[in-house]
Symmetry: D2
Subunit: 138 residues, 4 copies
């Protein structure tokens, strides 16, 4: 199975990703982008996208970037996220890259941007985390 | 307004917390517990609760613990989470505590447990983060 | 070799720990405390202990707590630290605990306090990190 | 005072940076590089540079990148570091960049490389942290 098909198959099996409305936008060898349209049920009390949505995007884009880099099933074992701007706009995109890749572990970084109505992007969070290779679930 | 009422009012205004099915279980001066029943749409591809659900719980319980410690509106500005065990069971509970409280900032730690069918709890994640006081939105 | 002797042997082999003046104060199964007297060459430009000294203490006490929990050689693979108060006093003590222990990995948390002239302790940093078991170097 | 002179003046006042043998290699508006020659007293028990040296470099290069971005005194309030390769060679260089800059806070990322005998660089750690503007100490 090619990487693209593999990643989309795994993503489609993530019930929570479907529930939250996320899309796997693009994948490469060691990169992944996940997007989500901003809808009212993703907001917090001040009308911005809830931090939990951004942390989901960081977690999941990091998992896919690391898994694609190691070419197999993978899990995020830890990550940290800094929120740098309230997320207000039409869409959020998280782009992750595996910046250090070993046989069993990858360290990935992620930038999360909000896309405004005019199409302009603004950085709203930065994340960094560890992805570990998982045994094949079969 | 007392702390308990304040926290529940804010929580009720979080559309994403309602959407994801979270409950503010308990609050105190510098503590907060948020729970969520494990239902199929919260799972990932291996049948465990998605890491993004756990990171939401870490983010939000830390926000409330810090906000209650500083007695006002607050935002999580950053956090890190370590996943230590796949979450499988009937319910997840995140318990956060403000371990260092200043006038404008609190550093909080959070333990996330999964509750099994027999009621036993098992640790599934540990988090630590910073909460900053926010201007009153009124 | 018992845990106590093992830990002290490893610590004595750390040239940097000797150079910086650190002492392994106490060890247990999954705990370690490292102390350092505050001397002028450990300070930064405002007269407080440099953050790098505190991050060394976090890193190393976490390594020892994790290694003692897993009963073998270990390395810190990642950690995060929050500085919560400028460190001014006579001594710094970092106390780490392995809060989740597997066969190959432990997640540890650490509290760093400064001891004032009157013997009182004040929290100055909180840390959390991952320790991985290392192959025996023999 | 220009940024370059300001940064070098502050660096020269850091007793710990002198003690550990660090050099401020280069600075820019929102960037800083700090280097340290690998000498025996910086090593740990396996002959690699101690993680505490790398965490010092992360902490300090992040502080300078953030302070230079905000053009004033600054402190690192928190950071996380992932160690990705044992550091063995002749020199360590930490390069930090302020990737998000506000009036009172900057979020910076840092890459730490080891320089081998043949001059080749290899990544040995990645870090991310928050720098907060500090009141002028005068």
């Amino acid at each position: 199975m090619d990487l693209h098909a593999f990643a989309h198959t795994v993503f489609a099996e993530q019930a929570f990703s479907r529930f939250i409305g996320a899309r796997l936008e693009s994948v490469g060898p060691g990169t992944a982008a996940i997007a989500i349209d901003i809808v009212p049920h993703l907001l917090q009390q001040h009308g911005f996208v809830h931090g939990g949505v951004l942390s989901y995007l960081a977690d999941n884009s990091i998992t896919f970037a690391g898994g694609l880099a190691m070419q197999g099933n993978a899990l995020t074992s830890e990550f940290k996220i800094n929120y740098v701007r309230p997320a207000k706009g039409v869409r959020i995109i998280a782009r992750a890259t595996a910046d250090s890749v070993g046989r069993r572990q990858a360290v990935c970084r992620c930038e999360i941007v909000v896309v405004r109505e005019d199409g302009e992007e603004a950085l709203c969070a930065l994340a960094q985390g560890t992805v570990v290779a998982a045994a094949d679930p079969t």
